[in-house]
């Protein structure tokens, strides 16, 4: 019997076979924390009694969730993390560099890697055929100390993608639709493995959006094969030598198979307060929104800002709607400036936020007021997520977000594109 991508990646790192259901100890290629999970992780690491990080060069600390810090306590957390990085020699990405998952994609993730991070959206790097998964602080503290962790090898759902996206429909719509189909716990613990002829046209930014939200089905990893698109992206990032092709075996065993034809999809919206509460954008028509937020590890990439800027160019945001834009990284921000996207967005009335997580998790930079609604390109809309349990968060693509910012209510982008 052949292997799924998950089995293949894990088995390649072990001295023995890896089959769904096995519990294995594996060395990790990359371990990271961010400023929300990092302080606890580091204190637990210190409690373990280990003095050195097993692999400091591939142990990363990102200051992105509160960047720049809005409050004294978080500023002190940042000091603690910087001091730890200096003392142990691990890599630190400071305020303004961007969101950890985007930086992992730009600079670190390689096909075949095992990547663990103290952040649930670590799963994003599955776009590179990396076994990337989020864990809590204790697990990451141990991974920092030992350079390894334990896994139960997951069973896999195969997601076969065919066709091309119609106009106005994007990777975000695909993953929202899929989450609606599978449900918020429908793939708990499983691997989602994406394949099919549509991948020939699916860029890395699109794959990153999809892999990022695989966790919203409960999945442990969301994996794409490593192919020409992966190679092209790595080469563009100056990391072409880290490319290797990686595919599942043709006779791998899958627990479930799902097929999706991209050409049949339409713009989708996730309604409050669970991500799987997904409906076509037409069902959200007329819902007034006080804030639009375009950014995050889901949809803050250059391609996302390009789409938003193409819709907003020459237009103004609705006077009753705030428009917040946070590029996912400094690289994205600089490229978006050079290409004029930032100019068009600012001209349309957008507030440009620093690269980072920004308003996504309710800390700062766009906390909602009582009774307000936000249309966000992020990945979560749980009650209280954006800092106020009395607010509503809707999730959609950057195109839907941009169109909605113009109209002031949730709008199908095809109506104004």
């Amino acid at each position: 019997m052949g292997k799924t991508l998950a089995e293949k990646i894990l088995a390649a790192k072990l001295k023995h076979d890896a089959r769904a259901g096995d519990i294995v100890i594996a060395k990790v290629d990359l371990v990271f924390v961010q400023d929300s999970s990092g302080p606890l992780t580091i204190r637990q690491f210190q409690e373990l009694g280990f003095h050195n990080i097993a692999k400091p060069r591939t142990s990363l600390i990102f200051l992105d969730h509160a960047a720049p810090s809005p409050v004294r306590q978080l500023s002190n957390d940042h000091i603690f993390l910087r001091q730890f990085a200096r003392a142990t020699g691990c890599f630190i990405s400071d305020v303004g560099d961007g969101v950890c998952h985007q930086l992992v994609a730009e600079r670190f993730a390689k096909p075949g890697d095992i990547i663990v991070g103290a952040d649930s959206h670590t799963i994003t790097a599955g776009a590179f055929a990396a076994f990337a998964t989020g864990m809590g602080s204790s697990d990451i503290a141990v991974a920092l100390a030992l350079g390894k962790t334990w896994f139960r090898v997951p069973e896999t759902f195969s997601i076969n993608l065919s066709g091309r996206f119609p106009k106005g429909v994007y990777a975000k719509d695909l993953i929202l639709y899929l989450i609606g189909q599978i449900g918020a716990d429908g793939a708990t613990y499983k691997a989602l493995e994406f394949g099919g002829e549509a991948l020939a046209h699916m860029t890395m930014p699109q794959r990153l959006t999809i892999a990022n939200m695989a966790v919203e089905t409960g999945a442990k990893v969301g994996l794409f094969p490593s192919d020409e698109m992966t190679q092209e992206f790595l080469t563009t990032q100056g990391r072409g030598d880290s490319y290797k092709p990686l595919y599942p075996d043709t006779n791998a065993a899958y627990e479930r198979a799902i097929s999706l034809n991209l050409s049949e999809l339409e713009p989708m919206v996730s309604f409050p307060h669970t991500v799987d509460n997904v409906l076509p954008t037409s069902k959200a028509r007329g819902i007034k929104i006080q804030q639009v937020f375009i950014g995050t590890c889901t949809n803050g990439r250059l391609e996302d800002l390009a789409v938003a800027s193409s819709i907003l160019q020459g237009r103004k945001k609705h006077p009753d709607t705030r428009l917040l834009i946070a590029p996912a990284s400094r690289q994205v921000f600089i490229q978006a400036m050079k290409l004029g996207y930032i100019q068009s967005l600012a001209d349309a009335g957008a507030v440009i936020l620093p690269p980072g997580c920004a308003a996504c998790l309710g800390l700062h930079q766009g906390v909602l007021g009582d009774g307000e609604a936000c249309l966000s390109t992020a990945n979560r809309n749980f009650k209280g997520r954006m800092g106020n349990p009395e607010a509503m968060v809707y999730l959609a693509s950057p195109a839907t977000a941009a169109a909605s910012a113009v109209i002031g209510e949730i709008t199908d982008p095809r109506e104004i594109m």
Partner: protein, 180 residues
Amino acid sequence: MSDIRLKGKAIKLGDNISTDLIIPGRFAHLRSNLPELAKHVLEDTIPAFTSRVKPGDLLVAGKNFGLGSSREHAPIVLKMSGVSAILAQSTARIFFRNAINQGMPVLLCDTDKISDGDELELDLIGGVVLNLTAGIKLSCSRIPPLMSTILEEGGLIPYIQKHKDFVIESPISSTLTGED
């Protein structure tokens, strides 16, 4: 985990209680001050939860408890509030692992058979929940190997302090289909 039998009163919650609901992101500035952070546990779900919960109480949830963010502060503040174990129909993957890593027992069973305020007795080794109020017995799915050892030894940090490494005959072929 000092006791293998726990007795307590059920505090009932619904489905899809996210880690954002357990401990909202807006309190991230208190994450390095756990006693202060713990004052806000579940406050968006059960008003005045911290004044209601008594040491030894059992949190009884529906489906997909602990979905979302990987913040381990969620099981930590639940533990600090006095909750001695979590019962649910299902839990999210990261939360399950985090709770066990904190030495917090998590039992998966048919929690529809438990009402708010019911007196429960848990047999953690046998995987059995006795609903003393309703007079019924519920069986729970077993905690996977390795995780059960980590739980018995009080969590992952004490486990690694003791063994200095993971101690398993690698690989264990697991017959379980539940959480990792």
